[in-house]
Symmetry: D2
Subunit: 271 residues, 4 copies
């Protein structure tokens, strides 16, 4: 069974394919299931490790509050269990925050770091946005939670053009946004409060790719700009006309950028 134990808790993980390893860290409302459409292409040349954070997907729920560094140890436990080394670590949004903290603590385990739609700190603005999400979760009403959290993570142009798809998704998510899920969400959001690695970014000395979306209204472009300026050996790409949920809005730009970065063997120097 694809579980490991961490502190008495079950952590769900999956491994797909063979090759250089990439470990995928989910955004806050995602789970291993969110990557289904990407797995065939991603696992064609790489060993892909998916995992659910505590309070996410098939991993165990928590009983009390914790900080994101607990999730860093969850990732470490999975890597240890699978005896992985020199892994490429990918994170999006919440997953990117955990990836940055992992890179600061366990950089020897890493080859490349890949950050989509990530911030280096939960500033007051983002914290209060998060508190609005918590308040919405506390209503235990799926519709409230959907309307408060989902439209804003898409770009207006995508949402409007794909309103039928969004409405199908709304129905699916109403089933997901049950009381248990919403209570886990509250803990997950709170675990990111106080997060701040902005001043430590310059200690990350591995090759890093940073990807922004033009219309990301949760972790706006300026946040990734800070990370790009902070990490010495970093690349920076922007996806045009795209919101925070870049993997859903622009799945092909998403996978191309990710695979291209994994695939290139060494840095090119123009002399």
């Amino acid at each position: 069974m694809p579980f490991i134990k961490y502190n008495e808790k079950n952590i769900y993980y999956e491994v797909h394919g063979e090759g250089e390893v990439i470990v995928i860290l989910n955004g806050i409302m995602m789970s291993h299931m969110s990557w289904k459409a990407f797995i065939p292409e991603l696992s064609r040349n790489n060993k892909v490790v998916l995992l659910d954070f505590l309070d996410q997907g098939k991993s165990d729920k928590m009983d009390s509050l914790y900080k994101q560094d607990l999730q860093v140890e969850v990732v470490k436990a999975v890597i240890d269990k699978l005896e992985l080394n020199k892994i490429n670590l990918f994170g999006i949004s919440y997953g990117g925050e955990v990836a940055l903290q992992f890179a600061l603590k366990y950089k020897n385990l890493l080859n490349k770091l890949i950050l989509f739609n990530t911030t280096s700190n939960t500033n007051s603005w983002l914290q209060d946005i998060g508190r609005g999400w918590i308040n919405a979760a506390e209503t235990k009403d799926a519709e409230t939670f959907y309307n408060v959290t989902i439209p804003i993570i898409y770009s207006p142009s995508f949402y409007n053009k794909n309103i039928d798809w969004m409405n199908k998704r709304r129905k699916i998510l109403y089933k997901v946004f049950k009381e248990d899920f919403l209570i886990s969400m509250i803990r997950l959001i709170k675990s990111a409060e106080g997060y701040d690695v902005k001043e430590k970014l310059n200690k990350i000395d591995i090759s890093t790719l940073i990807v922004s979306s033009e219309y990301d209204f949760i972790t706006p472009v300026a946040e990734q700009e800070d990370i790009y300026k902070g990490i010495p050996n970093s690349q920076y790409i922007l996806i045009r006309e795209c919101g925070h949920a870049s993997m859903y809005e622009k799945p092909n730009e998403f996978i191309n950028i990710l695979k291209g970065y994994l695939f290139v063997e060494k840095e090119i120097k123009i002399v």
Copy 2:
């Protein structure tokens, strides 16, 4: 007393100063009170007319749902009462939507049209953002309503730099966000559903100024770009590093742009 009757309802208005007329239409959560800091400067050379829409400020509450075109008639009633003509009409956000509809219906009354942070239509995305605000209002909880609606209307950089001011504002707004206010908000938000003048913009043949904020996450820059492309005789200015609530974040850029536009007498042609 500065009220007029419209359909048995009291509409509150104020007049300040003498000179060319400017009528100010509020954003959805604002009232005539919001302009206090601007009145001395605005009324120094102009006759400034403030008014509260139905369900806003000191104007009467409504008992049932209505559409924004009712607010258009409210504006018309105030203008008639004051026997104004060739007015300059300013609107921000919700007020800009009413201003656009007013311009289409009563263009002969207008001199110049000024639109800050305005959209030409309540698209699906904006409608669903609005429904999240309605859900938040339905909790009747001031904190929930604040967290869901306020942070997102400011730019992250402003919010973070002015967190003390924001926290003072939070306390003030907790007192404002009482049940009555929240029920009015629900009607106001619903009155904008279905709004769409995008295809009629080319019929607006008066001089128009359009102002965007770089980090407006409610009516993003692309919305004002549409209006600029739609209205033949329009000017377009952007305030950098500013969110949706441009008047609070950048009061000086705000007043300069507004007064400059009012103040210039005729169009310059380079020959």
Copy 3:
């Protein structure tokens, strides 16, 4: 005759209107003539002082190389002659560079500072662009000088939409770009080499307005962003879909922003 003597050289100036003073400093290829279309509106409420720098317009040519700080003294000499005080100083491009240096040396003479399309330093890139312009001037061929310098200072969209106007302008400029003019241009360009006030911007403690154009390919937006970050009490506005020659591309946005800023009497504080 509207000339003053400075170091044995004639400096041409003009005064229009009455009111608070605004002194206008030209861009490098401009002269007092460039402002003709703006004078009626500008001088309606202000005393407008135009002047030609050394090597510009009706002012005397120079015989040898000099630095921009000589132009700072030219401005000072005109201000002294006219016994002006608490002036508002406007500069665009080259004129903005002189204005910044003036503000650092004679800040007591100033009320407000207004900078359109200005950089805080002639960096290597801009210097080499300038050397290309010098090389073009050295051919003494009007067509070469036009093609090398003029298209790039307009936005593509403006240039393409107004190609008839551009072609008329081309004919006019062919008459202007005579040998004498081109030799003066070489000295003017060289006078800006070595210019750098970037680290001193924080010493400018007067109210300052900074205006960028979205498609300014000579002093790109990032340059004005530096100035905005450097000067503590500054405002920052951007003109959309506009190139370096903002006054020609967007004369109405230009004059509105300028007059609005002059016109507002005191800073608004939101409390």
Copy 4:
């Protein structure tokens, strides 16, 4: 010897590696030599075909003027000679223009189309920029040609940060910019006058990747936006803080995006 004959002219080409084919079309001032640093990585998984256009690199010079469609036939001749099929066609700038015309004429030969820093038409603005380059070439002076054409194709930030590299490059290019080269340049620039496929873009029905640079002052972002809107099945990525010569400024972002796009086998659909 790696030449083919086309219309009595020698066309130089090179083939590197094995795998899916990618044909590389150079920018106007480039040649097969420009790709040296990229070949090891590019040819690791692909058969890479380099070629020099007529009037470029080792290919023959022309004796009279011609249009870009001649270069389209040059590409076709190389492809025929090598008996290639279902190729991926890459073009940058001038090469992108030829690639677009190739795709319209010979789309059955293509698999994917990749366009970096490309425009769909030589509009009046770009034509006049080009005429300035022609005027500079006509001086037969390497310094003039360098200063007029090179700084503007780099972003200011790259140029300033890498001024030592730029100055080394200046020396190398002074040797390249000999009379013969400059006369060829004039013909190449003229061959692009009149180019316009903007209204035909919707006929390109193969998968296309479009890449812009944020500070591209020759083919600004708006040009690629047009292509993205025109070609139905297209992806669009932007490289931040980068000028027109994206391959030199951001070689790693460049190769990642290119390889990622080549490497992904089929389009991902989110259901």
